[in-house]
Each structure stands twice: as C-alpha cells, then as structure tokens.
C-alpha cells in the first residue's frame, strides 16, 4: 500500500487556497445534509399540504378572481410563510449545528476561510429553499390554470379571462401639480392679513395649505368638472383595453349612490374616445374599460369627470389617489415569475439573517433573534408611516401647535427604526400578481441586488469577523 505525496510548489508555503472550492464543497454538503436528514422531504410535504388544503379550507367566492386569490395569495403565500420560518431555522442550524455537534473543530482547522464557510452553507440552504419555492410556485400555477379555465367553458370566456385576469398592468397616475408655489403665495397673502396664528410654525402652515389646495383640486361641487391629463410615454398599442379606476367619497360615508359623467378623449387632438355615466358607491373602487380599438395610438389621454347636479352633494377623490389608468404591461406568467424571484430573494435574505444569528448565539437565542428581525422587517412600513408623522401623540381635547418633547423623542425613535428596517422591508409581490399589477424589473432588481446580494454580503462579512474571533471550546 503506497501513500503518494502531493507535489506543492515551494513546499506549499506560498499556497493561497481559492475561495470557490470550499464554497462548492460546503454547498454540496449542505444540500446532502438537507436531503439525507429528510428536511427537504419534510418541506416538500408541508408545502404540498399547504397548497392542497388551503384551497379546500378557503373556498373563495367562486369567481376566477376568487380562485386566483385563494391559490396565489393564500396557498402560495402560506407556503412562503412556511418557507420563511424554515429559512430562518435552516440558517440558524447551518453554523450553530457545527458548533453544537463539534464538527466545527475539524472544519475550522482547515484552510477554508470563515467567509467561504459561511457563504458555502448559505448557498446550500438557498438552493434547497429556492428549489422548494420553485416547485410550490409551479404547482400553484398549474392548479390556477386548471381550476380557472375549467370555470370558463367557452373559448370566448377563456379569451376574456386571459384579457382580464391573466395579465399584468402598470399604473399611470395623472400629472400632479406642484402646490408649493401656490401655497407660498397664499401663505404670504394670509400672513399679510394676519390670518395665520402666532403660535403656528410657518412650515406647518405651508404644509397644511398645500394639502388644502390638493383636496380642493380633487373635489367636485355639484355641476362642477375636473380634467386630468395622463402621459402615456410611447403611446398605447391598441391590442389591449385600458382600465380607468377611481374611488370617490361624498361628504359622509353613506351608502347613497353617486352618478358621475366621464368623458375620455385624446389629449392632443381632443378626439372623444368614450363618454359614460357611472353609478358608483362612495368609497368603493370602480372601473371604466376603455376599449382597445379606441385607445390605440394615444399618447396623451385627457379624462374629464363631472359631478351632475342630480347628486346634490359634493364629492372628492383622495388627493394621493386620483383616478388612475391601468395599462397592459405583459402577461401573467412573466409577472408571476418576477414575484417568485422576489420571494426567493427574500428567502435567501431571511436565511442569512438566521445564519448571522447562529454565528453569534446558540440555537434557541438565534431563532428568537431571527424571528424578532422577521417581525421588524414586516413592521417596517408602520415605522415608515410613524417616522413621517409630526405628532405621535394626539388628544381629542386640544389642538397642538407644535410637537412636544415626547413627540420628538418618539419620532426620532421611529426614524431610527425606519432607517434601519425600511430598506429591508418584506414586500408582498403576490398581492400585486393577484391585482394584476405589473411588478417592474426595477423592483425585482432592488429586491435581488439589495437584499439577495448586498445585504447578504454585508452579513457575510460581519459573520466572518465574528467567526474569526470565536473560539472553539468544548469542555475546556
């Protein structure tokens, strides 16, 4: 029996091991562990169970939209929730189990860098989670097509479903006026007439005036009209219908129906495309379909809304949500794929949070810390809203002219949380898919590059630093 030596240049003293080989080795090890410990099987069974039982438990309203909601939003969303917890658990286990089981002693005595050990483990876990996610997404897509198209018997109905439901649309909002100049002029005038209270800060007064002007422009008295202009960039192709959506509210949130006269015309030539009276309920989203044939070639769209005198009541639109257009921007499949890519990026991000916690703490603490992170990134939109508020504490008995110390303190607290967690917020792309809202590639790139790459790289460097300082003590 002969053990042959390994020839090394310079006796191996100048050898610099590459990072890719250990990463590949650890990635394969991580996948093997998942397969042989039946973790992968367990995840597949749990996801299959979620996709099977959620549609049975939540029956929906029987419409194609209802089926889409149940399958995509609830069944696939449930699988995503399950995989999010699994990602955190897998991440916590990846490094922590090495220490708990003692295999780290051998692993860390090898020339693989701490960074490559971390990245290799993450790559393996990411591949396992992504594979399960893709399988779940493919299953849901198959079920959606099978179930929804089984509802539509006629080819025309199927075609209508493709046009109405299996699409992705982008939202075009009307040109918004910048109210700052008008508000400043108004403020000067009011100031001259001493109509601004002495205790009110000037910037606060300016902000309130801007909002008042926006509300006035979004309101319609009986017999009054408003026109909004929509810039359609490259123009409409005329292959797909355009949807005009709006939500109007009256002075009270009563159930009385309102009638609105809508005139839609080409912005440049003034050619009328559509005239329609719509009966709408206050607060409910209404849709006007502009036929494909009429909309073809239009670059600038003018939408005029009249509040007929018959209503006998003023109405208003939310100034932040004026009537908007939804324009065809691609098929359902591409949109669905983009949403799945975002979900996978989120899984990798969550897994790396778990792994970083696993580097610092033992398993229970690491799992708790990771779940806390998960909660924080889910609460990020709330922190964002609170950080944008001027007053945190309200009282019905007094009108505040300036924020108090506690307002400022809590706003600072929310600002810090907002800065930290808002960029890492977990979005819900499945809702966009269900609402047929196109997920732009910019959003996909942001999620993948910022969360799946940049945040993971930062965490990997922190983890490498922690691991290089960590000592390997077992029963000293």
């Amino acid at each position: 029996m002969t053990i042959s030596p390994i020839h090394r240049e310079d006796g191996g003293r100048a050898h610099r091991p590459s990072a890719t080989c250990p990463i590949t080795a650890l990635m394969l090890l991580s996948i093997r562990r998942s397969v042989r410990s039946r973790l992968l099987l367990a995840l597949l069974i749990l996801c299959a169970g979620t996709i099977t039982f959620v549609p049975l438990a939540i029956r929906g309203d029987g419409t194609p939209e209802g089926y889409l909601l149940v399958f995509v939003r609830y069944a696939l969303g449930g699988s995503m929730a399950l995989l999010s917890v699994a990602a955190i658990w897998l991440g916590c286990l990846a490094i922590d189990a090495e220490f708990e089981q003692g295999s780290s002693e051998l692993l860390f005595s090898k020339p693989a860098s701490r960074w490559s050990i971390w990245m290799g483990n993450l790559a393996g876990a990411a591949i396992v989670l992504t594979a399960v996610m893709l399988l779940a997404a493919a299953s849901v897509y198959g079920l959606v097509r099978l179930r929804i198209f089984s509802v539509a018997a006629e080819p025309e109905e199927k075609s209508l479903l493709r046009e109405r439901l299996f699409v992705a649309r982008r939202i075009v909002c009307p040109r918004q006026e910048d109210y700052r100049v008008r508000a400043s002029r108004l403020l000067e005038k009011l100031d001259r007439n001493r109509w601004i209270g002495a205790g009110m800060a000037r910037d606060e007064a300016l902000r309130m005036l801007q909002y008042a002007l926006a509300v006035r422009d979004a309101s319609l008295a009986p017999g009054q009209s408003r026109t909004w202009i929509y810039d359609l960039d490259n123009g409409l192709t005329g292959d797909h219908a355009v949807l005009l959506k709006f939500r109007a509210v009256g002075p009270t949130h009563g159930a009385a129906a309102l009638f609105l006269d809508w005139t839609i015309s080409e912005g440049l030539s003034g050619r009328t495309l559509l005239e329609k009276q719509i009966r709408c309920l206050p607060g409910r989203e209404e849709t006007i379909v502009i036929p494909a044939a009429a909309a073809g070639g239009v670059r600038l769209l003018s939408v005029r809304c009249t509040n007929p005198r018959v209503n006998r009541t003023p109405l208003t639109f939310d100034p932040a949500r004026l009537p908007w257009l939804e324009i065809y921007a691609g098929g359902f499949e591409a949109n669905y794929l983009r949403s799945v890519i975002i979900l996978c990026a989120n899984l990798v991000f969550l897994c790396s949070i778990g792994m970083l916690s696993g580097c610092i703490f033992s398993l229970p603490t690491a799992a708790f810390t990771s779940l806390w992170w998960l909660l924080m990134v889910n609460l990020a939109p709330y922190f964002h809203t609170m950080a944008g508020k001027r007053f945190i504490f309200y009282s019905h008995h007094e009108v505040k002219s300036a924020p108090t110390f506690w307002d400022n303190l809590f706003r600072l607290f929310f600002s810090l949380l907002d800065r930290l967690f808002y960029p890492l917020r977990i979005t819900d792309p499945l809702q966009q898919v269900v609402e047929a809202h196109s997920i732009p590639w910019s959003q996909v790139f942001y999620e993948v590059l910022f969360k799946g790459v940049a945040a993971v790289l930062v965490m990997s460097l922190v983890a490498a630093l922690i691991l290089s300082r960590r000592q390997y003590i077992r029963n000293p």
Binding site: M1, T2, I3, S4, P5, I6, H7, R8, G11, G12, R13, A14, H15, R16, P17, S18, C21, P22, T24, A25, L28, L29, R32, R33, R36, S37, Q101, G102, S103, E105, L106, L107, F108, S109, K110, P111, A112, S113, S468, Q471, Y472, I473, R474, P476
Partner: protein, 340 residues
C-alpha cells in the same frame, strides 16, 4: 518575518515554536475561570514525533487547539513554519485530529474524505487517488460507502486519522490518536505515525497512554496544571541522575569480574550490570506527585486525580493490561513515499 530556526544540536529545522504561551479561559464578566496553559515554551523540529503528556485538565488539548488556530492564546506566541497558525496558508500544511472525531454522520467515509480534500483545494483526480489510498491504509475500504453514523468508535477514529492526512501535511497534530482503538489498530496507527516522521513529517500528539508515547515519541513534554514540568527525549527523562553507571567495554570481562567480585565481597550481594532506566509511568507519576505536594491546584481540573493517574496508582499487574507496543525500531512503514 520568517522565523524558522535551526536547532543547534542536530541542525534540524525547527518548525513549531511556542514562546511563553498562556491561555486563560474567562467567563462572561472577564473573570478568570481556568488557567489552562501557563508560560509554555516548546520547540519542535522537522521529522520529530513530539508527545504531550499530562493528566486530565493539564492543558494538552488547549495547547494543541492553539497550535491549529482554534483557540487564541491569552499571551505568548506560536509560530508554525514561521507563520501564525491562524493563517490559511499555515493551515494548508497542517493535519489535525481532534480528541473526538466529530464527523458528519450522514456522509460515508469516502464522501467525508473527499469533502475535506475539497477544503484543501485538491484537484478531483488527486482527491480520488488520496481517498482510495487512505481508505486502504486505514482498512476501511469494505465500509467506505456506509454512512459514518453506522461506524463503531474505532472506525470513526480511523476516518478521523485519514482526514488528517488527506492533504499530505507537513505537520500532523493529533489529540489522543489511539483513543478508542483496539490494540491492533493502535499498533497500525503508531506504525503509520512513526513512518510519517521517518519521511520528514512532524507529528505532535497528546496521549494518556504512556506506553504509546514512550513507544513512538522522540521527545516528550510533561504538563501539569497548565505548566511545563519536563521536556526532553525519552532517554534523557528516564535516566536516574542521582546514580552512577560504571560503563565497561564488553571485551574487558576480567575487570568486570574483578569489580563485581569486589562489590559482592564488600556489599554481600550481586551487583546489577546494565544500563539503569526508569519506567516512563513511574517517572510520570513521581513528577505529578511532586507537583501535587508542592502546590495546590487552584483553577485546573487536575486537582482531582485523572484516570491515568488513577490507573497508574494501581498494582504492577494492572499496568500490563494496557496494550504494550513493540519496539519502535524497525517498525517503520516503508510504503510511505519520500516527501517532495
């Protein structure tokens, strides 16, 4: 700074240098919990088998872990081939077998060795060749594709030894290499280690099995309570310095007969004519007893008698129940090729 030194006596390259090494384990509040190693200075030369001896809690494992970069010294320095043990380039030339071979139980021996080979960035063909050779060397060929979780402790230990040799290391650090092995496997392992040393590899090991250490080590260091108590070759340490040996040429039998006759006449007993030599176990026990009598163990777990010490305090007949290795001369494994 390249600090490889040449030993004055043998002109052999010193590959491992420990200088005033101290390791203190502290608790969360930075209070001293255990002084595991205190002011340890050792040098090891290329091609040497160096043994660390000591009872439980004497600091052997801590010293070895510091050598392979798993623990950071509190003070002092470690130089391996002139470099820090924590650099990846140094670890590339090290092979390490920990006290417990905690391998991945879901991998087979072949997969485990291949995995560790990948960590050393060995090419696939080279890896396959080394894995086959090591499996054959450790006698695991017939179970190479079974999961390690199904192996006995001795078999796991063999896989552990094989992974320590996967990269053809210059320096092999072994913590209790024969623990859990049957006498035959233990003998094989010792032969392999001796052969590796004969071919220029440096072996540093710790063991409780004194016979093993005596059998294969060129030099030994005895630790107790984290401090170095003695260091030297086995011969140096076992010679009784308070007695004289009259050495006579073998040819001068008349003179020897006259001297022994005179001694017999004056003392009334037959003088022993041989090279006096202490037993390593006696020497070790005496050293530990002296250390215990002269100081109180404060932080170390060695205040309680260790298993080895307990064993050694038993009668002479019990000592022979440990596997006694044969003479190390002529046991080299000639199949191991010369280093490059």
């Amino acid at each position: 700074m390249h600090a490889v030194q040449q030993r004055e006596n043998g002109n052999r390259e010193t590959v491992v240098v420990l200088r005033d090494l101290t390791k203190i384990y502290r608790d969360f509040w930075r209070r001293t919990r255990i002084r595991a190693v205190q002011h340890l200075s050792i040098e090891v030369s290329r091609g040497e088998v160096f043994g660390l001896l000591g009872p439980n809690g004497s600091g052997k494992t801590t010293t070895l872990k510091m050598l392979v970069g798993l623990l950071h010294p509190t003070s002092g320095s470690i130089s391996i081939l002139g470099r820090s043990p924590r650099s990846a380039a140094t670890r590339h030339l090290l092979g390490y077998l920990p006290e417990e071979s905690l391998l991945y139980p879901f991998l087979s021996a072949r997969e485990a060795l291949d995995f560790y080979g990948q960590l050393f960035d060995l090419p696939a063909a080279e890896r396959r060749r080394r894995v086959d050779q090591l499996l054959e060397m450790t006698g695991l060929v017939h179970v190479a594709d079974r999961p390690i979780g199904q192996y006995s402790r001795g078999m796991v230990r063999r896989v552990g030894l094989a992974q320590a040799l996967i990269n053809d290391p210059d320096i092999i650090v072994l913590d209790e290499p024969t623990a859990g092995m049957d006498p035959l496997a233990s003998r094989q392992v010792k032969d392999i280690l001796r052969s590796l040393a004969d071919h220029g590899r440096t072996v540093i090991l710790s063991s409780h099995l004194l016979a093993d250490v005596e059998d294969i080590c060129d030099r030994i260091a005895v630790l107790y309570n984290g401090r170095l108590r003695a260091v030297g070759t086995v011969e140096e340490l076992l010679v009784h310095e308070d007695r004289f040996i009259v050495s006579l040429p073998a040819a001068d039998t008349d003179l020897l007969r006259m001297i022994t006759g005179e001694i017999r006449r004056r003392m009334g007993s037959e003088p022993e004519v041989s090279h006096p030599r202490r037993n390593l176990e006696d020497f070790f026990l005496e050293l530990i007893r002296t250390a215990k009598d002269t100081e109180t163990a404060d932080f170390s777990g060695a205040s309680e008698p260790g298993l080895v010490a307990e064993y050694l305090s038993h009668g002479e007949e019990d000592k022979h129940t440990l596997p006694r290795a044969s003479s190390r001369q002529g046991n080299g494994n000639d199949n191991i090729a010369d280093p490059p």
